[in-house]
Symmetry: C2
């Protein structure tokens, strides 16, 4: 890397801080940026600053937005009695893309992970309880990931929310549509079999 000019070394160093980008990939990206048009490079540079300047967390659901509250929270055609709890903004986006949910969201910004020192206070759980207390919520659908941390978070939330007059649900686990049984792990298969349904 030290054989590149100083400014290129600096760009490579910063690009390799991005997740999944090693030094070699960073060098490839940096050389691409160097070769790209002035407009493209300027747009990329400006967009990085804009994202940091403009994007806020919605004060209601903690999803990403440029105007607070976010468009989803303001959308009166959505079901304001349903909350879907997700770990991260991209989980929200994945669900929105699927079109499966027409209620409101609540983004925790993480999952419980005692190993990494992430306890309930590090997540937006207090705010979730506040929403359930003050808004007219009828159902809370827990859509945290189905890995260890996500399951632990869902169990914890189910426990914490037990005292409130809301229906608490969890997204179903099973074989993904289009999935190939031979590539699936045993736990998923076992659960899918246990929860088999009459057709």
């Amino acid at each position: 890397m030290e054989f590149y000019p100083q400014s290129l070394v600096s760009l490579i160093k910063h690009l390799s801080k991005l997740p999944g980008i090693g030094e070699k990939t960073a060098a490839r990206l940096a050389l691409h940026i160097l070769r790209s048009s002035d407009e493209d490079a300027k747009a990329l540079s400006r967009n990085i600053l804009e994202v940091k300047e403009k994007i806020r967390f919605c004060s209601k659901c903690f999803g990403l937005c440029e105007t607070d509250p976010c468009k989803i929270c303001l959308n009166m055609s959505r079901d304001h009695t349903m909350l879907c709890v997700v770990e991260q903004p991209n989980d929200l986006v994945a669900l929105e893309k699927s079109g499966a949910f027409k209620g409101l969201y609540h983004v925790l910004h993480g999952a419980l992970s005692p190993m990494s020192g992430i306890g309930p206070d590090a997540l937006r759980i207090r705010e979730l309880i506040e929403r359930i207390k003050t808004d007219e919520i009828k159902e809370v659908a827990l859509a945290t990931n189905t890995n260890v941390e996500g399951e632990a978070t869902a169990s914890y939330l189910a426990q914490v929310l037990k005292g409130y007059p809301v229906r608490i649900t969890r997204i179903a686990t099973g074989v993904p549509v289009g999935g190939d049984l031979k590539y699936l792990d045993e736990i998923t298969l076992r659960r899918a079999m246990e929860r088999r349904e009459s057709i």
Copy 2:
């Protein structure tokens, strides 16, 4: 993607123009940038502009530099009678890292590829001949890649340079050091066997 705020969508769009970065990776990178510190984001943004502003091609070897001629061309402790011809600036860097070459370089900025419409005029071949004519070059080591385009370029250059009083060499092909024979292609193995040496 349309479910993210506008400025984030724009950043994702620009990041996915980078080589090997699909839309999902771009979204992951964009969210990382959003979560990173203000300093990191600003430094990345500034570095992108700086690279475009500061980095030039050396007017002698066409390698990357911030001051023209580049440090390698100015380094009088290097052998100025030897030229190593490479396709791209990162090939030059790879050779520099290896420490195997102490002469000067000439970067073609590509390889001959009739399929992609890249002919001799698109490369820095005219400038290479000019250097051979005016500078005191004794050897030209052709270190273009060993794929079809690189080999074609090396053959073409060997042909074109035949009339000049320089020794023309080509980097050796064979089994990479630390290589595992069973993973190597047949052509490499055949060549390595043909060029076997007494020990």
